[in-house]
Structures are given as C-alpha cells and as structure tokens.
Amino acid sequence: MARGNSNDYAVVWPRSAKAVEIKPLAGRLDTIEGKTIAFLWDDLFRGDEIWPILKQELSRRYAGATFVDHDAFGSTHGDDEHRVLAELPGKIKSMKIDAVVSGMGC
C-alpha cells in the first residue's frame, strides 16, 4: 500500500471510461422553409402549451413548413417510453421528418 513515504497511498481512478462513442451531430437544415418538423414530448412541464406557440411562430416565419404533433408518437417518459423511443427512427423515415424538437427538460 505504501510507496516511497510510508504514509503514502498509490490510488487508482474510481470511475471507468465512457462506454459510448462520441458521434457527430446530423447536418443542419439550410432553412426551415418547406421542411417537416416533429415535436416529441415527455408529457411534462407545459409542452402542450409551448409547442403550439412555437408552431405558430415558425409557421409565421416559414409559411411552407409543416409539423407533426407529439400525439403521433406517444409520451417519451413513463409508460410508453421504451416503445416510443424504439419506434422513433422508423417514424422519422416513414413520416419524412426533417427535424425534431424534443421537450421538456425542467
């Protein structure tokens, strides 16, 4: 246990390396105009009030944008969490979704 000085301790790191590969984000959109934006929600913290405000403002600025509401997916937290997350890649493809807004972290 002791090294050099008899009162010293040589210790190891109590953690372990992150078991996840650092990946690049997806490419960003050139514009929101003409794109399909989906909202996924964890059924918490007034996302059902915030999304309509966002949607209305985005529609005002980008008249050609379309939107997919959260009820097309189900709640991302609680009962259906695992199913909704598992189905998401397939739904992004089948619904031709261009970008995702996810809430709420509160």
């Binding site: 990946k23 997806a26 918490l44 600025r61 991302t76 992004i92 807004v101 509160c106």
Partner: protein
C-alpha cells in the same frame, strides 16, 4: 428528452431540445454520456411551473423560438474530447489527507473521508468474486460508463466496506444496470433515494443489524454498503449534484435494511426476496427508490383487526403526488413498502398471511377519488389531458375499483394488492412500523441473487478471523 434527441440525431435529423433555464447544466453533462456532447439546447427562461400564460408566451417568443431556429439551421458547436485514465492506472500517490483532497476536488467522493483505493486493497475485494476484474456488468446512464468488477471493488474500498461484502456489491451493480430499475432517472427533481433490502444467510454471516435501529447507521455492513451505493451512482453512473443529479432537496443515502428472517420463518411469511422471485436459501438484494418515509408510532391492538386500520391510514396519508405512478405517468408502478416490527407482524400473523394483509390494505387503504385526481392534474401538471379515473378505467388501463360516479368514493392507492410490499425488521419488542413512499418506474423494485465465490466458507472464516 435528450435520449429522444440522441436517437433522432443518430437517425440523421437535426434536433433542438427544450430545456428550462435551471436544467441547462444537467443537459450538457447528460449529452456527453449519450455520445453527443454538443446536442443543441433551446432555453425556456425560468421555470414553466410558475409562469402565467402570458409570461410563458413572452419567454417562448422572446428566447426559445430563436434558439430552436438556430439549433436546427445554425452552425454545430465543436466537441472537445477528454481522455480518461485507465481504471487500473495509478492516478496519484500521496498521504491520506492528500488523497482525500484530490478525490473531493474531482468529485469522486461524497464529502466524507474515503479509504484510499489502492491496488492492494482492491485485490482483497477481488478475492471474494469468481468474476475477472474486467468483467463488464453493464452500462450505466447518464454517464454511460461501464460497471465492472474492478470499479465495484474500488468504490467498495472507498466506502469502507470489508472485502467479504464484495458479492453483495456485485449484485447491487447488477441490479443498478437492470433496465427494469431505471437508474437513468436517479437524478430527477423529487430526489428519491434507494433503499437496499437484504435477505438470506448473508445477513447473519456478515453481521448485519436487523433488529433495533435497523435503519440507522452504526453497523459496518449496513452502513458501508449503503454508502457504496451512492458512491457508485456518483462515480460510475455519473450522478453529481449541480450536474446530473437535480434532486431539488435530495436525501442522504440509506443504510441497508436487513429483514428479520427468524421472525419471518416463525410466521411462515415469505421474505421480500421470495416475493420478488428469488430462490429460497440464497441471499438476494432488492433495490427500489423511495421519495420518503415516516415512522408509524405505537401501533396499538392485540389482533390484526385492531392493528391494520392504523397501518392502512398511514399508507393513504403518506401517499400524495406519487399516485401518478399508480395512474397516469407510469401506470401500475407504485410500490410502497411497509416495514413491520416483528412484534406487530407476529400479532397480525396469528390470523393472517402476508397476502391476506396485502389484500386487506388494497381493499381498505383508500383515498377519495376527488383527492386522487387533484394529485394527477389539479395540484400538479404531471399528468396532462385531465383524464379522470373513469377515463382510465374506460381505456382498460386500471381496475374497475377506481370507477364510480361519486367524487368522494374511495379508491385504492395501488393497482394490485401485491404492489404493497411488506418487510419485517426493527426492534423486536416495540410496536412501531415504518412506511416508505415509492418513486414508481423511476426506481422500480429489482432483485438480484448474490453469487458467492468458490470456497466461500473458508474465505469468510479467514477474513473474519
């Protein structure tokens, strides 16, 4: 929320994650563990719970919408990759005080002095498992670090455990990585804390306290293994205050609750582990997160009929917003734990099995439907849509016992009788009981048997001599 964004980014579409102002730090650290350190966040100023509709609209239009547009169309923030040490590298040599200062400064300690994790001490722990040091137990969110036999031993050393506790520590890590438990929710704002219940021969072999003061620190196995749990959550799962642990208040870690199996055997009642399906005769740990608890003092009466109404009342009066785990957010996952002192349990057991007690409590420990619904969506905003209990029954999601036209009708606090967990521990000669209120799927009861190494009796005898 961020797991959704990570999956979407993986699928090739840009994302924007909506985040209240006080949670941006947590979001940034969680993003690293998801493999996307630069997930794009859109700020919602303040906290939405206390904003008027007008304030919320102003905040979203004034800040959030600009962030969303920038997140989806703007430049991507650069990533800084940090290089971690190898777990078996010596990271520091120094005195006890210097080691402790280093561990505190790096967030590797809980604020109490730790036993320095030297390779020699870790080797003593490794001798109490047949698994190799690099055995991967599983990944732990949110940091997404691998739980290994080596880092279980390192954190066990730090917590002040004895080497022969190692089989229990490994079982706890196995339980922590089990998806059923939901470790990723351990940093949520209610700040619930895990209780470890131990059953089996190891209670006596390792000297756990299961009698008077069963939930108090003071006995080395109960105390140090409880501390290990929280250190492991910190160092391997990555739950640190002001980062991924957002408990508004939180609790200190709980000591291990060992059941009084002599009393259980006398009553012919199953142990908690047996209720959870663990094989008879083996030791097992059961973990679950509880938002709080309270002692039920001086339960008075000489029969089950006289004792149960007070216990039923405690179950109802201590259950509040947690009914969102009975109906709503995670239906059917509320699992409160009633700890009976042997004196009370044995009085009840004169005429009732444990199952009888669960059935009685299911039928009689009830709250007004009006109050139940207040918790779901009146006083909280945790279950959207303002669905009534009758709606949930119509959807076939909960039993008919919740339905009715009278808002004052009494409804159960769990969806099934067996969801009321019952353990026996504490002072054998006092009539107090204890109730733990549960955090539902955000720490669902999970049981693992403890695997002992070859030549356990010899190794244990040597360690204790």
């Amino acid at each position: 929320m961020l797991r959704v964004s990570a999956i979407a980014e993986q699928a090739g579409v840009p994302t924007s994650s909506l985040c209240c102002e006080g949670f941006l730090g947590q979001a940034k650290t969680t993003s690293v563990g998801l493999g996307y350190p630069n997930l794009a966040l859109a700020t919602v100023p303040g906290h939405v719970d206390v904003q008027t509709k007008e304030e919320l609209q102003a905040n979203v239009l004034g800040t959030t919408v600009e962030h969303v547009i920038r997140n989806l169309t703007g430049e991507i923030a650069s990533v800084q990759v940090t290089v971690d040490p190898d777990p078996q590298d010596i990271v520091f040599e120094g005195s006890f005080e210097e080691v402790n200062r280093l561990f505190l400064e790096n967030g590797w300690s809980d604020g109490l002095p730790i036993v320095p994790p030297t390779k020699e001490k870790i080797a003593e722990f490794l001798a109490f498992t047949d698994l190799p040091p690099d055995h991967a137990i599983g990944k732990l969110l949110p940091d997404n670090r691998m739980a290994t036999v080596w880092n279980v031993a390192a954190n066990g050393v730090m917590a002040g455990c004895r080497p022969e506790y190692m089989p229990i520590l490994v079982a706890l890590a196995e339980a922590m990585v089990d998806p059923q438990y939901g470790v990723e929710h351990s940093g949520n704002t209610p700040g619930a804390e895990t209780l470890i219940v131990l059953n089996g021969p190891l209670i006596k072999q390792l000297g756990f306290n299961y009698e008077q003061g069963a939930l108090r620190d003071g006995f080395q196995p109960n105390t140090s293994i409880g501390r290990f749990w929280r250190l492991y959550l910190r160092n391997v799962a990555g739950f640190l205050l002001h980062q991924n642990d957002k408990g508004t208040f939180g609790n200190t870690w709980r000591v291990v609750l060992a059941e009084n199996e002599d009393s259980l055997a006398k009553m012919k009642w199953p142990t908690t582990a047996a209720d959870m399906g663990a094989p008879a005769g083996e030791s097992a740990v059961t973990i679950s997160r509880f938002t709080g608890g309270n002692v039920i003092v001086s339960v008075f009466g000489d029969s089950a009929e006289k004792l149960l109404p007070y216990l039923g009342n405690a179950l109802v009066t201590h259950t509040g917003w947690e009914v969102i785990f009975t109906v709503g957010m995670a239906t059917g996952t509320y699992r409160p734990l009633l700890v009976l002192s042997p004196l009370i349990a044995e009085t009840i057991a004169k005429t009732m099995t444990k199952q009888d007690v669960q059935n009685w409590l299911f039928e009689n420990a009830r709250m007004p439907a009006r109050l139940f619904e207040k918790y779901l969506w009146g006083w909280t905003n945790l279950v959207p849509g303002k669905r009534t209990l009758n709606d949930w029954v119509r959807l076939g999601r909960i039993p008919k016992a919740f339905a009715g036209s009278d808002p004052e009708r009494l409804v159960p606090v769990v969806t099934r009788p067996e969801h009321i967990m019952i353990a026996v521990s504490g002072d054998p000669l006092r009539s107090n009981c204890y109730l733990f209120v549960h955090n539902g799927m955000l720490g669902f009861p999970t049981t693992k048997t403890v695997k002992l190494p070859q030549a356990w009796p010899t190794k244990l005898r040597d360690a204790q001599s």
